[in-house]
Amino acid sequence: MSLHEELKANAAGYVLGGLDAHDRREFEAHLAGCAECAAEVASLQPVVSVLATAVPQVTPRAELRERILGAAAGLKGADLDGGLKTRPYTVRDRQVSAAMTWLPLAAAIVIAVGAGVYALRLQRQVGELQARFDQAQSTTAVLAAPDLARIDLQGESVAPDARARALWSRSRGLVFTAANLPPAPIGKAYQVWVVTAQAPVSAGLLTTDPTGGGTQYYMTPADIAPPVAVAVTLEPSGGVPSPTGERYLVGMP
């Protein structure tokens, strides 16, 4: 393969924003002098812009409008176009976040020092982080796995409001949390599937509370093929070896 062909293979990654810094610089240098690659990039850009809108459309909560426009009204003339003055996510934040045990305290200090305007919002976040921390402790083994993957599941047409998240590590197993599932009829149960390129593998049954929520930990075989999806189906109450019933939730890594 010529260098040009090798670089042209990166055009798609470039428009998707998927090249690492080195490959991107190399590609941009090539792009400046290569009409063919420039044409490929130009022709792929409209496709990528569609990806931005090719997502389920969700209206934000009405309260958010007030909050954001309120914050906008607080902007002074001097803030305008003078560069980004919102506090960006920095490396230091990430390190602070890693020290989970004192995170709530650290966050509280940040509130007091830096962001009076955002105090209420941050306080709420601290509460949520605390709750998330408590929850995380029970599933630390999975969450701390170096190979953690997150898969969000959306409700299918039988249960459009249902949502779920799978946190999966090959070495440590699967933590599965679902919400808004309709109650399973008598004699039926929800079953969680890890779908691989070969076949769906049963993770186990999922019991839900009266609100249709449930969290469960499952072991998955260490030699399982990489999952291409996670799904939930409604099956006879003891579960089945391969899915037969209607799909309620599906998500891809």
Partner: protein
């Protein structure tokens, strides 16, 4: 009239674009009242994209706020020659949302920020973006659903998760070359739908 109709088909967002540009102009001259119009026209699309990327409502709300505040502050930097306001906002939304997801990933994986920053894919490609009309968007969305699963997954991991080719290869346990090919074939197929649509 036919000319207007044809123009509207070519630039479905033209009217909104004119209003958006006017809103940004007012913001630049200090009229914060112009913020509401921008919010009302774009909050749904931006929030939907952000939610798709960060996967959680509270965080999506925070990112949406960051994006609008950034847009209001940098209204004067918008350059119409580089694309419509809607595309400018969506690009900012994707960048910020992916920054969040990356920060979270770093936290889980315990990697240091310095190492990570060096091999981050660029979530801010310097590109001109056009917006397509509803019909074209619908066609591409449908084509995306019809792509072979692994092509679709690779594209989604790159666009919505901000993963580099190398990271996708690692995640899917496939050779780097295979991943590059899948992404390219997938995008070419989506592009094909658009070309047919225009013919």
């Amino acid at each position: 009239m036919w000319l207007l109709a044809a123009l509207a088909r070519m630039h479905p967002a033209a009217e909104s674009q004119a209003e958006d540009v006017e809103s940004l102009r007012r913001l630049t001259s200090g009229d914060q009242g112009a913020a509401a119009g921008l919010y009302d026209r774009h909050s749904r699309a931006l929030y939907s994209l952000i939610l798709r990327i960060v996967g959680e409502e509270t965080e999506a709300e925070d990112v949406l706020q960051e994006v609008f505040i950034q847009a209001f502050r940098q209204a004067g930097r918008y350059d119409p020659s580089r694309g419509v306001v809607a595309a400018w906002l969506l690009m900012m939304a994707r960048s910020r949302a992916i920054d969040r997801v990356r920060a979270r990933r770093t936290r889980f994986e315990g990697r240091t920020g310095e190492v990570l920053l060096n091999d981050l894919p660029d979530s801010h490609p310097d590109v001109t973006s056009a917006m397509l009309g509803d019909e074209q968007t619908r066609m591409v969305r449908q084509a995306l659903d019809e792509l072979p699963l692994l092509q679709r997954i690779a594209i989604e991991l790159a666009y919505y998760e901000g993963l580099s080719h190398a990271e996708i290869a690692e995640r899917l346990e496939q050779p780097l070359g295979t991943v590059k090919t899948r992404i390219r074939l997938g995008l070419l197929k989506l592009r094909g739908v658009l070309t047919e649509g225009q013919a």
